[in-house]
Symmetry: C2
């Protein structure tokens, strides 16, 4: 029982530790920031919201948090009340915004993940600006960063990684990815510890996405090795991978 | 027979076409260059020497060529007379230099591919400087470039590709890789057309090298797809991959 209690604590604690490390090393959060967290109801963004709420003391920084969910025409099943209740219990207020992505699609154009995510991003930016937020936080983790890098390379011929910190030129906003040092498997463990139940809808296109294909291939390519993943991330962030050791 | 004659010409011709393209696009060779080709007796460097000798007219440039073979303590089996005869028939004079790599190894240090290749590279630089060459040409092809990139990323945590053109800061020398656009499979075909017989020795360490492991993994990762390989190369060279279409 003692062991179980210890284990129950450890994955969430590790996520917090790695998030503090990323925030401090990369200067992701400053005192007084007003941070808007994009939440889908899935494990990654939920764990991000919980983590950002709990690491204020460790970071020795004061900042405001709010979670916003972007609903689309695809959303019919997601449990927004579950999500809202869960986040408010963590001290993170919640809001929901509807974006008619299908309605915005120009005639003759087909839906694709890139276009849809741009629409949702634009809506986040609009919401942040209208409500006085200077930071948008996204729940992308280490595996997402690696996958996107390889997808850009293999499908687009571009050497381009998702940055952990992006300052927009057009808006007085920064975009941060505080889970950049955290592997997905650890988030899965943390979510289980947290008693997480999925509250996101599944996108009908997601099942067939290239990301799923590339995810499996990366796993074979790197033998599912955490040190190898950390070295790939280190190569992308320009940081010595020793720094990424736990 | 007509078809066979056509095919017999085509792989070597394609290697030449892609080499001309790389040399012109990347400015690898200038008029008056004195180029030292590092030859091992293997297919890549032999095809490089043959190609550089035959594309002068297509490049509309005048340059001198010489091939140099670096012999090491491992060399016992390589057929230098075969190599020499073959290259001189192509109008490329040949020389051989001995480097005692095992003898140079400091006490207590183990042999490794990186160290050995540095020793051989230093010897090439010395030879080039002593004999008035301003260019060293290496036979690395597209697959080598991709493999080295992934090895640096996965094993060393570094984002670092083999450049097609490197100007040394310490020496008045440039290092070029004119086969950068050519896939290994095409060199294999070209070598067969040329009637190539291997004249290189096998390094006793090579069989167990990480490169062999990564080569197979890349093949699985990219489904052995030539367009995917070209997009990876495009991402590394910063060139739009459309330019790399044949």
């Amino acid at each position: 029982m003692a062991d179980r209690a210890y284990r129950k604590y450890s994955a969430l604690a590790m996520v917090q530790k790695l998030t503090v490390k990323a925030v401090l090393e990369m200067g992701l959060i400053e005192d007084g920031d007003r941070i808007l967290i994009a939440v889908s109801g899935g494990k990654d963004s939920t764990i991000l919201a919980v983590t950002l709420s709990r690491i204020r003391a460790a970071l020795k920084k004061q900042y405001d948090l709010k979670a916003v969910h972007i609903s689309t025409d695809f959303c019919s099943c997601c449990k927004k009340s579950v999500l809202s209740e869960r986040l408010e219990k963590e001290g993170v207020p919640f809001d929901d915004v509807f974006v008619p992505v299908i309605g915005r699609l120009k005639e003759g154009r087909k839906m694709n993940c890139y276009w849809c995510s741009t629409q949702r991003r634009l809506e986040l930016i609009r919401y942040a600006q209208e409500n006085g937020f200077n930071v948008i936080a996204l729940g992308h983790h280490l595996d997402d960063v690696i996958e996107t890098f390889f997808m850009n390379m293999i499908f687009k011929g571009e050497l381009c990684a998702m940055p952990a910190l992006l300052r927009y030129r057009k808006y007085p906003l920064k975009l941060i990815r505080p889970l950049v040092y955290v592997e997905e498997s650890r988030i899965v463990e943390a979510a289980a510890e947290y008693g997480f139940l999925k509250a996101a809808c599944s996108c009908p296109y997601g099942r067939f996405s290239r990301r799923r294909v590339i995810r499996k291939k990366i796993d074979l390519f790197l033998d599912g090795s955490s040190p190898a993943k950390r070295r790939v991330l280190a190569s992308l962030t320009g940081r010595n991978f020793d720094l990424l050791k736990e």
